[in-house]
Assembly symmetry: C2
Homo-oligomer: 230 residues x 2
DNA sequence: TACATTTGATATGTAGGACATATCTACATA
DNA sequence: TATGTAGATATGTCCTACATATCAAATGTA
């Protein structure tokens, strides 16, 4: 008995490879020195010598940083620091098929949370032009009951537009990445549920109503999803 | 004139390296085949031959996937598919010093959005035990005006606990990663601003008040930050 | 037969050498 | 001034080699 408990507490010792170490070393190096994008870095050979590893190892570490967008490399020019695309690496991993059920559920909730929190910034930034466009989207979806595929693409278009109206590019991209997962979780439902507040209703609230009314409307719109949470 | 316009339209052609291609190839391969974690993958040499590249290139690509947590490797055992830590790669890049101002602002807003959207899930999951712990945190912060460092660590402890009360691990971790950036943006203020609703007030609302009251309270608590947004 | 030990094969981790290619610098030329 | 040439340099790719860890089979022992 005691043995099993002990084993459960044990975690595999971190078999850090040289590439892992060098990667971390380089990331710390880049952060500390407060470089600016465009600054040149030592060459691979210099790094290898300085760190006492082979050029292979350095290249593996650099390959990772390159993927993260932290550095760029040009022939002869050497390496230069660059601004990472903070969502880029996220995107690579965000696939419903390779994420465990518990995390999928977490992300589902994360998106619901965002949706409910949008009102304040939305009311700060919304414009007449955006409202018209949103209304056009909502109206084009009016003939309801066109099947699952149409329903999902409608949701994507409408809610995507709302995020875009916040003027926050990062938020908009982030939500776009979450969509496949959101869609996946919804597709697990047997019976598609629809809230009592429609897209058109939400548009009308946005036009004339208050933040609080919009939030209440969004809650009703998403109610079927919230009801699924325990 | 025409020449300059032409040049403006030109973008550098994507100099994809072999490692980039192989990385994408492998990711698609892993997704398509619907492997389960633990499944064994071909050896580096087999992959290299199958793709017609050197083992070096394959190793660079695999090194990236290893960083993302998509695969694990053991000597002799070969490679096995594993569940990526979706936030792990995010963490590597999330440093205020290497993110541009506009994205920092976006992330600042993202956190405000989350904070305002928490109410629904929070009221679904909060327990008496959690409330007590949250109250303890809030009370321990009562003697105000202990300087910037104490103020920030108080914010972190209190708001962190709220996220934890949602029972959503991904959300909690995500918020924790956003904290340095949030703190950084705040630290740019000359005069620290404090909302009219304190942590204690929020706890009291959580104990007896409604979701709507909590949301209103949180809005007041965060008002100084929202006022900074245009 | 059952179990423990040894041995060999295999895949990864690391090192180092080689060369093609792109591109920067300097110099030469019209 | 603009263009073209030559050399130097850093990356991109390939190859070979070997240490090490580990699985699997062979061997030895009770």
């Amino acid at each position: 008995m005691a043995k099993i408990d002990l084993i459960k507490d044990l975690v595999p010792i971190a078999q850090n490879t040289m590439a892992d170490i060098v990667e971390k070393e380089l990331r710390d190096y880049l952060k500390k020195k407060s470089f600016k994008p465009g600054d040149a870095l030592p060459s691979e050979l210099e790094l290898a010598e300085a760190l006492g590893v082979s050029r292979n190892v350095v290249r593996e570490a650099l390959s990772r940083l390159r993927m993260l967008g932290m550095v760029e490399t040009r022939k002869r020019r050497g390496m230069i620091l660059s601004r990472p695309d903070i969502l880029g690496s996220f995107e690579r991993v965000l696939d419903p098929l390779i994420i465990d059920a518990s995390t999928l559920q977490d992300i589902f909730e994360l998106r619901l949370t965002l949706e409910m929190g949008l009102a304040d910034i939305l009311y700060l930034r919304k414009t007449k032009k955006d409202l018209k466009e949103l209304e056009a989207i909502a109206k084009s979806q009016e003939p309801k009951g066109k099947g699952q595929a149409f329903r999902i693409s409608s949701e994507v278009a409408f809610h995507g537009k709302i995020y875009q109206m916040t003027g926050n590019d990062t938020l908009t991209r982030f939500q776009n990445m979450l969509l496949p997962i959101f869609g996946y979780v919804i597709s697990l439902e047997k019976v598609p549920k629809i809230g009592t507040v429609s897209h058109i209703d939400l548009v009308n609230i946005l036009k004339d109503g208050s933040k609080e009314e919009f939030r209440a409307g969004m809650m009703e719109h998403l109610k079927p999803h919230f009801d699924r949470l325990k």
